[in-house]
């Protein structure tokens, strides 16, 4: 099926531009057509890159190489086809860009050599030229990697041999080798595992295919400036490509599988689809067609209704692209933005027990984050690693947990840098201290400021008791919710809400202004909202801010200021 996978929409036999004999004048437009068609499809070749292999933009490199080749003959009126080919080869050599460009220039070099002293290009001459191109290209590498443009060149030469048995007309041969090149391109993943893993065909091979197809399209009188929608095998349809942005009118993505009652008139089919939306792709396999289209919201159901009229719809999927984009955006924003530090400045390292808390620290201007907290204390090594490579000597560490202060102090012993540990026992203390940090300030003064700030905030932690115990006069049953004020157990209750409200009462929250509540990874936002509403009702004077802390074990971490 792959042989037909690039069927073009228009009927190829409508118009023929076959000119005989193929001299320099007749060959030149073919080369121009090859270049134009490759340029039109440049992005789709670029898209085939197996990131991050070297030779980044194969499509662009091949276009630039071909452009240099064509520039050499653009103003040349050369009747001798051999001389014309040599000029092309020379241009390709001079302009070769990237790996695929170099190989392409070698193909041209061999091709041209075969046409030495040839006035015109005939069938056997063309076949010979493809052979020479292949030979020269293979000479350029000690260990040829198969499944690349080299393989496609080899298969094209082989197909040209077979085609010559049927007809000595160079155009007939071209008709035969274009589909052969396509099969060869489709086969590249079988030969090269990196392609298979990435689920793509070889970009250089595909580029060579476009060059040959461009010549054939010219002969057929088909346009070369618009990348025509093509039919592809179902398996190779890639619909999950994440988009960077969506244009107006691309609100929804609609994918429909359908079985037409009659053979599909592709030209009309595409025309009709173009009235509905953009990004049209159609795939075919075993009589089932799959179409993919982006439509504006008001035309959401048009593609389904339309295909229903054509045959049986077996499956339809709709996705809201706008919402998807928003999700992407959110995810992108969730990446930590740490503040870079310059030599001589104070770099701050904060230990953060959850992603949300890390984000808050990042927004406060810390230079590095070490993950860790209660029951997951970071090692001295991890703390050391976080600042060892920073370009400054002044390091402040906010352990944000009583149990991590020691590890931080140990890390301070192991480095030549001047490390100051600000003994923050809780996350709110760490944040409070961080707000006083001025990277350009005098380290001695800043240290005093930050330590002073530790007592500006009352820290609360709400968690679950893991055993039955009595501490500080508070008796706790295993499984109860307990509240800690500045690390000290102050209360135990049966529900999270009671424990939270009880805690707020204990700290005399009415004397403060702001409550910041970081909720943990083990509680849903809805549960949080219920409790937050209760707090707002009881303490209307105080401002309550709710943040997703993402910390484990602790349902809530509260900062009272």
């Amino acid at each position: 099926m792959s042989s037909e996978s690039q069927k073009t929409v228009s009927d190829p036999s409508t118009l023929s531009m076959r000119k005989y004999p193929i001299d320099g004048y007749a060959f030149k437009p073919l080369i121009e057509a090859a270049l134009n068609w490759l340029r039109t499809n440049q992005q789709s070749v670029n898209a085939l890159n197996v990131f991050p292999v070297p030779d980044g933009d194969t499509g662009t490199n091949m276009v630039l190489t071909m452009q240099a080749a064509y520039d050499e003959i653009a103003n040349l009126s050369e009747r001798n086809v051999g001389k014309l080919a040599h000029a092309v080869a020379h241009g390709a050599l001079m302009g070769a860009r990237g790996n695929s460009g170099v190989i392409l220039s070698q193909l041209w070099r061999g091709f041209a050599r075969a046409l030495d002293n040839q006035e015109i290009l005939d069938g056997p001459g063309l076949v010979n030229a493809f052979h020479q191109g292949r030979n020269t290209a293979y000479k350029g590498v000690v260990r040829p990697v198969e499944g690349t443009i080299l393989t496609v060149a080899k298969d094209v030469a082989a197909a040209a041999d077979i085609a010559l048995l049927g007809s000595a007309d160079p155009y007939d041969i071209l008709e035969k080798i274009v589909p052969a090149a396509d099969i060869s391109v489709q086969r590249t993943p079988e030969l090269l595992s990196v392609l298979r893993e990435a689920g793509v065909v070889d970009a250089g091979g595909k580029g060579l295919y476009f060059l040959l197809e461009g010549m054939l399209r010219y002969v057929h009188g088909l346009p070369l400036d618009t990348a025509l929608a093509t039919i592809q095998p179902l398996a190779s349809m890639k619909l999950q490509d994440t988009m960077e942005s969506i244009e107006p009118g691309q609100d929804y993505e609609v994918v429909i599988d359908f079985r037409p009652d009659q053979a599909l008139d592709l030209v009309h089919f595409y025309e009709d689809l173009e009235k509905m939306g953009t990004s049209i792709q159609v795939g075919e396999g075993d009589g089932i067609y799959r179409m993919h289209i982006h439509v504006p919201a008001d035309k959401l159901y048009d593609p389904i209704n339309y295909t229903k009229a054509l045959g049986t719809v077996t499956k339809a999927a709709i996705e809201n692209l706008v919402a998807q984009m928003e999700d992407l955006e959110r995810e992108r924003n969730s990446k930590l933005k740490l503040t870079p530090v310059e030599p001589g400045q104070i770099a701050t390292v904060a230990v953060a027990p959850g992603p949300g808390i890390a984000r808050v620290f990042a927004s406060l201007g810390v230079t590095a984050i070490v993950e860790g907290g209660q029951t997951m204390n970071p090692s001295t090594q991890e703390i050391l690693h976080s600042f060892e490579n920073l370009p400054t000597d002044q390091i402040f560490i906010l352990p944000n947990n009583k149990n991590i202060i020691l590890a931080a102090q140990a890390a301070a012993q192991l480095t030549v840098k001047k490390v100051t540990v600000i003994p923050s026992c809780t996350v709110p203390q760490g944040m409070s201290a961080m707000m006083r940090c001025v990277p350009d300030g005098d380290p001695h003064d800043i240290k005093a400021e930050m330590i002073d700030a530790l007592s500006d905030v009352e820290s609360g932690e709400i968690t679950i008791a893991t055993r039955t115990v009595e501490i500080d006069g508070v008796s706790v049953q295993e499984g109860q919710f307990i509240a800690l004020l500045n690390g000290k157990l102050v209360q135990s209750r049966d529900t999270l809400k009671e424990a939270t409200l009880g805690f707020l009462e204990k700290v005399h929250v009415k004397k403060f202004e702001l409550i910041t509540l970081f909720y943990g990874a083990e509680i849903s936002r809805r549960e949080v909202d219920v409790i937050a509403d209760a707090i707002r009702k009881i303490y209307p004077e105080q401002e309550l801010e709710v943040q997703d802390g993402g910390q484990p074990h602790y349902y809530f971490i509260l900062a009272i200021e």
């Binding site: 790996n99 070698q106 050599r113 000690v142």
Partner: protein
Amino acid sequence: MSNEHTPLGSIRISPRAIATIAYHAALQSYGVVGLTSKNIVEGLANVLVKDPTHGVDVTYDGQNISIDIYVIIEYGTRIKSVASSVRNTIHYNVEKALGMPVEQVNVHVQGLRISDPD
């Protein structure tokens, strides 16, 4: 030479190992038809032993890895393009295999092989 210390022990990667990776990467690059010695003395020594790191120098100064490679390129190719793709290929392959950054890859084109003189 290139090493990593952890509490569990250390990992050492010899320059020879790195050179072997670079050697194979170079030979798979389009346009490279062979590797050669840096100078005559080394060349003589290499006649005697078939070395898989022949034509590759790896230096590690305790922080950075740099690789020098001495290649023969096919005559008629655009040498600049071939050399820069050799450099990229080696850079990519060595970093991928090693998991360590490679500071420099210097490609020295020592000669051309002429298969077809045109």
